[in-house]
């Protein structure tokens, strides 16, 4: 998301982008500090929001007209089928496209770009249409259920609970996606949410400090391989 060297000067003068970037892996900052940053930047955030509406919202609920919403909600009940597997996604996807062209005709014509939005919603029903996570999670990033998450296990929403059960020991983002049969992007958003809630802990990766793994870690990998 950000390159390391840029971080220092930016922190002195936080912008909305910095607040967003602050949710990255390498930060490891306490949540308190992020909240502080956010509050301080509320003004800027609001201005930004006015100028540029958040892109993920577009794919979730296309803004104009009641029709796309209706399409999205009608897909809602099928959403929970998603975790059962790819076939579920593909199947429901076809159904969506059949209703897609029919619905808009009833009402006033929609802008041509809008109907495509619904296609992104289906596989991402678990994430309520969001495709981006606040955390920069690589596919190999390990996550594990935090003590707080274990205490609150019974209170968690269903999908978070299945992830928390799985991450009792450290699992990579890719493993969570594979073992729950959800697309990688969905796993990222879910885990990002859970990390934000403090339910899971996001671990360091080899490349947390930059884009490339450091030499000391490679040394450890090498000796680990030799011991195998």
């Amino acid at each position: 998301m950000t390159s390391g060297p840029d971080d220092a000067p930016r922190q002195q003068e936080p912008t909305f982008a910095d607040v967003m970037n602050g949710f990255s892996l390498d930060s490891g900052r306490p949540r308190k500090r992020r909240r502080w940053g956010r509050r301080r930047d509320e003004e800027a955030e609001r201005q930004e929001a006015v100028q540029a509406p958040p892109p993920p919202a577009h794919s979730a609920t296309p803004p104009p007209g009641p029709v796309p919403n209706e399409v999205a909600y009608s897909q809602g009940p099928q959403g929970p089928q998603g975790p059962q597997g790819d076939a579920g996604f593909a199947g429901s996807g076809y159904g969506g496209y059949q209703t897609g062209p029919i619905e808009p005709i009833r009402d006033e014509p929609l802008p041509p770009a809008v109907p495509t939005g619904a296609s992104a919603v289906r596989p991402y029903a678990w994430t309520r249409g969001r495709t981006k996570s606040g955390f920069d999670l690589a596919i190999e990033t390990l996550v594990s259920t935090s003590p707080q998450g274990r205490e609150q296990l019974a209170l968690l929403q269903m999908e978070h609970r299945s992830v928390a059960d799985l991450c009792d020991q450290p699992r990579s983002v890719a493993e969570v996606a594979a073992l729950l049969s959800i697309p990688l992007g969905v796993a990222r958003v879910l885990l990002g949410d859970m990390a934000g809630l403090g339910v899971v802990t996001v671990h360091q990766t080899a490349s947390s400090t930059g884009n490339e793994p450091d030499l000391a870690l490679m040394e450890r990998v090498l000796s680990g391989l030799r011991r195998l």
Partner: protein, 221 residues
């Protein structure tokens, strides 16, 4: 799912704790999994059917898992969409395995999606990787060129593994190097993807090469 889950060992082989410079200072001792467990990744690339999944599986402590990403638009012009004109997405899968190298270090091996048109996933795969093993079937040398081009372009260290399907290599390494115009600095190793020891040696060759490349780059700076 349960059987897969229970196949994970609780920890790696019994070894000395991590050197102090690798572990982050934790604020307080906490029960449960150590948040200092870190992960590294190696990419396994090569043409379709060259043995990537076999390679991953021979060293992985779990049966290779498959993860999916939803693909949009990239399929335009490739997939037959005439029956479903509004279909915008399809899925692409990649296999991966996991090796616990230490009590707090896990290595993931990711096989690239076989089809070359899934480049968008390669960026995700390559980011932060130690390096890549390019598996080559000497009967189909050209299959791996796109992977090699990609890693060259991204500056990702890689080694070429000549996968011996029948246990015997039909060509000498130097002949293959010449045929593929591979730089002498790039290691080419013989390997048998089905053999754990052979896979291990290939990975060791890669990590050594990646470390040498890193130190050379550091010296140049």
């Amino acid at each position: 799912m349960d059987s897969v889950g229970s196949s994970y060992p609780v920890g790696g082989p019994p070894v000395a704790p991590a050197p102090p410079n690798m572990s982050r200072p934790s604020p307080a001792p906490r029960p449960g999994p150590s948040p200092t467990t870190i992960s590294a990744k190696i990419v396994v690339a090569g043409g379709f059917g060259v043995g990537k999944t076999t390679f991953v599986g021979s060293v992985s402590e779990i049966d290779p898992l498959t993860t999916e990403a939803v693909m949009t638009e990239a399929s335009a012009g490739h997939d037959d969409l005439s029956a479903t004109p509004n279909k915008q997405t399809t899925t692409v899968a990649m296999d991966f395995g996991r090796v616990s190298l230490d009590s707090d270090l896990i290595l993931y091996l990711f096989g690239t999606p076989g089809q070359h048109r899934f480049w968008f996933m390669w960026d995700d795969l390559v980011r932060g990787a130690i390096g890549a093993v390019v598996l080559v079937d000497t009967r189909r040398l050209a299959d791996c060129f796109s992977a090699i081009d990609f890693f060259e372009d991204r500056g990702l260290p890689y080694v070429v593994g000549l996968n011996a399907f029948d246990g015997q290599q039909a060509h000498r390494i130097e002949d293959v190097r010449e045929a593929m115009s591979i730089d002498p600095s790039i290691p080419i190793v013989m390997c048998d993807a089905r053999n754990r020891e052979s896979t291990k040696q290939t990975l060791i060759a890669l990590v050594q090469h990646a470390m040498a490349a890193r130190m050379a780059a550091g010296a140049r700076r």
